[in-house]
Assembly symmetry: D2
Homo-oligomer: 286 residues x 4
């Protein structure tokens, strides 16, 4: 039997890091969750347990904390690029680094006091290899949006298993998971993020929707029309079903006012919107 090692990577997942920047009595806070993955000449460790090529995951964790102390964090994409650049050249055996960061937002409540925002989580995935190639994907997740009207669903294909009645008016709700690829280096990841986020929200709320697919495309298109630095948007939109409760047994009308918010099952619409001339994605989405 001839067997071989295929694609592989290893790293430290979910290093929880809170960084406080002190501007006299006024403090600033960054709260992130960093996952690093390295790959390279890893035949020996897999086949014989020879660890000479392995930069331990414990060292990766230490590096995350040390880099925060040395450089601060700034925008998560920048911190990820810094870490990935370091790791991709850290050892002759390491050829490639992937760094994924989640950021949790906090609201100021005083000079050194904060309350955690519980809404969407900002994300990024950065790749760098030792030849200098790099990619940056930014994103967000858990952004829960709802339109209480302005959504229809009808005219769909019908077969012997169809029971769904057409809907002329329905609630449309989702928890947006969006990731977008930067064409090259973006000068300000912070303002870019705010711009993309606003596009996503405005396209969702502003689109009169005949299907969640249509809304998905409108969201991606809006981002690309507004943000020159982005070449591709990938969206995963669960259809969080809100089912109007039949109140007629109780002599009551329900003009789309009383809903059961269902957990499972849920629709799931996934799609990508990209520029015609988007450069090849390479390893960006891995």
């Amino acid at each position: 039997m001839a067997v071989k090692l295929g694609p592989n990577r290893y790293g430290k997942a979910q290093t929880r890091l809170v960084h406080v920047v002190k501007d006299g009595p006024v403090h600033h806070i960054k709260d992130v969750n960093v996952s690093t993955s390295l790959s390279g000449d890893m035949e020996a460790v897999h086949l014989t347990g020879d660890n000479a090529a392995v930069l331990p995951t414990d060292t990766q964790k230490n590096t995350v904390y040390a880099f925060a102390g040395k450089h601060g964090i700034g925008q998560i994409e920048e911190f990820a690029l810094l870490l990935a650049g370091h790791f991709a050249g850290a050892q002759p055996s390491i050829h490639h680094a992937r760094v994924e960061i989640e950021e949790y937002a906090w609201r100021r409540e005083g000079p050194h006091s904060f309350a955690r925002e519980g809404g969407e989580v900002r994300t990024c995935v950065v790749h760098r290899d030792r030849d200098g190639r790099a990619s940056v994907v930014s994103g967000l997740k858990d952004l829960v949006l709802l339109n209480s009207t302005g959504s229809e669903f009808h005219g769909y294909a019908v077969d012997e298993y169809t029971t769904l009645p057409p809907a002329a008016d329905r609630v449309l709700a989702t928890a947006v998971e969006a990731r977008w690829r930067h064409t090259g280096g973006t000068s300000s990841y912070g303002s870019s993020y705010e711009r993309v986020r606003r596009c996503l929200v405005e396209a969702f709320t502003g689109t009169y929707s005949r299907s969640l697919q249509q809304t998905l495309y409108a969201m991606g298109e809006r981002v690309l029309a507004t943000c020159e630095e982005i070449c591709e948007v990938r969206l995963a939109l669960p259809n969080k079903h809100h089912i109007a409760v039949d109140l007629s047994p109780f002599g009551l009308a329900n003009d789309n006012e009383v809903f059961f918010a269902a957990d499972r099952p849920y629709g799931l619409i996934e799609g990508s919107v990209l520029r015609e001339d988007a450069p090849d994605a390479g390893f960006a989405w891995e």
Copy 2:
């Protein structure tokens, strides 16, 4: 062997209800999770399976939806009182009702568009019995607060298992779970909630803390000093440990700037603050 039935209750847990109120093109939304529990003459059903005394949990769920359609929701305490009053007299066999509601906040993004706030969840537990007695406990949970300085911890008892060094400056962070008991009927549960919430946040952020217990007491005291309608506050404050990372192996100082945010274990401080003349709690906390 002589065995008997002890305290018991039954009901429908976690009825998810979204209610949309339409003011022309402008919609308003209430998103709640309702749990009802009834008790009364339940010997027969337990001992023989005779269901004559049982108002099914399915009917309880229907009633929640029907009441939302008929009366709207308003403040969750009011909706809970309405439901509990109905159930406590719904059948001769039902003597007592407990209604618990969680409310999830949404932020307006358009006339009929909303984004879910992810921060604290507003809660209430209401009891009513068929003799007219009632209690209202309001609350919140998952309010995550952090002071990046202004907290010490030293002067504690020491024994043979002590290794903790005293701290002259530390991060203090918690996820507030607070419940507060209303003395009687409160005229405006909405403004009362906002007042209590503000007291909790301000006492946490404004207290120079020598222990989380001191902060807990300050939070409860502030509520009672400010809110005449409240007679008791119960708090559960996890001490979400932020551990300063030792960066000295890397030649770096760490002046309380780089922290590991730990998951488990965590400190847990629980306590009640109440008025000297608080009326007996009865079943309020059950």
Copy 3:
């Protein structure tokens, strides 16, 4: 305004501890989650931040690990009693200790190899005060049981909100959460646990059920009839609804064969079964 401190306690929650006992090449493993809470003369720390009476939660954690090293764990009730006895006398200011333990089961796969069982979690809550009073409550949770027939539900009270049709045959499923109080010291907590667990399963599976309340009582009664060392059983049984899917639109019958397993809402039946002569519970259930 006269305000006072009410009931309070503090401690370290969820200290995760794995203990390996080595019998030559054959190892044994105990995997537990320990939460300790202390109470006593805690006025000063709450009112002024004076920590002299406080045995830090960090020290409590250290003690858990040190006691595991010194004494091993054995049955969780015994380890909890040992810890609680230590803490209740650890400082003049500490009057009372509560120790809660969860235990996760592992299945042997080799002399020093194990696979985690994912079923029910064994639990206990132990109290001890410095006057020597003690209580032991054992328990389990997440024991998911299902009868695919042998369950009816009809003859219930009907009102204007009733739509549920009577069921002559239904699936009955629950996730058992059970806690039981020992009358005094029990000689073998391990065999007692196995006995109680078997009673719970056999009473659930062996009872022809007209309501989940009836099943609950049968489960408690079976434990008390079989286990002399137990004086009270408390059960919380969610009714995990399995809803037969209407397949008639597709020309198919569904003789209770195809079910939608719903998440929320769910019924929740809670009750206690106890001996007529059960001693006063004191602080056992706190």
Copy 4:
């Protein structure tokens, strides 16, 4: 601006289905979670909201239940192939179907009584397109394994951020997530699953490990050496760190007996092992 629709799919996620097969008084149970995704001519729905090509996710859910009623479930791979085959030809606009199933195991407790096993979850992902191409990936997740000795870690690369001491003896624990690709049609998916599962457990427990990578490769290699029907194995192995607690401050030794089981961060080792002559994977892993 020229923008286009990229890869997309849509479907119903997490249709929870319990199927009871009745063999006289003896019942059998299958408990699954089915997610379906379709793709094809979906330009119009994205660009204009024209739903003519869309087979609604509600219909997909109905089909899952109807097929369970009509055909039973059998092995999850077979049920997924049946569903995918139906969907891939259900409408002219649908070209491709992906079906993912999770199966939860139950243990018999009586003729019609069951207790849910809480261990690993069996999984599969099946693809079929309308041209007849198909792929089957089977798998499992949440299989938690632990060796209390027989694991070292040393000889690794060292840099300025290294603080980890070499380990001559450590606990090695992981939660196995494994997926394996079938070369073609497999005659018995049930016995194949059991064979693969046994290989994974035996290779983990039987490998004297110098790194988790070595163990990962051994697990994949064992599967391929034993199971002719499999051509590729992909593994994701979190390194669930068990950190020996320093008991020396308490005058106690800790010979790898007392461990803190950490939550985060954790190592994460991901890799693929495949036959030299494995056929092209096509869409199998999507």
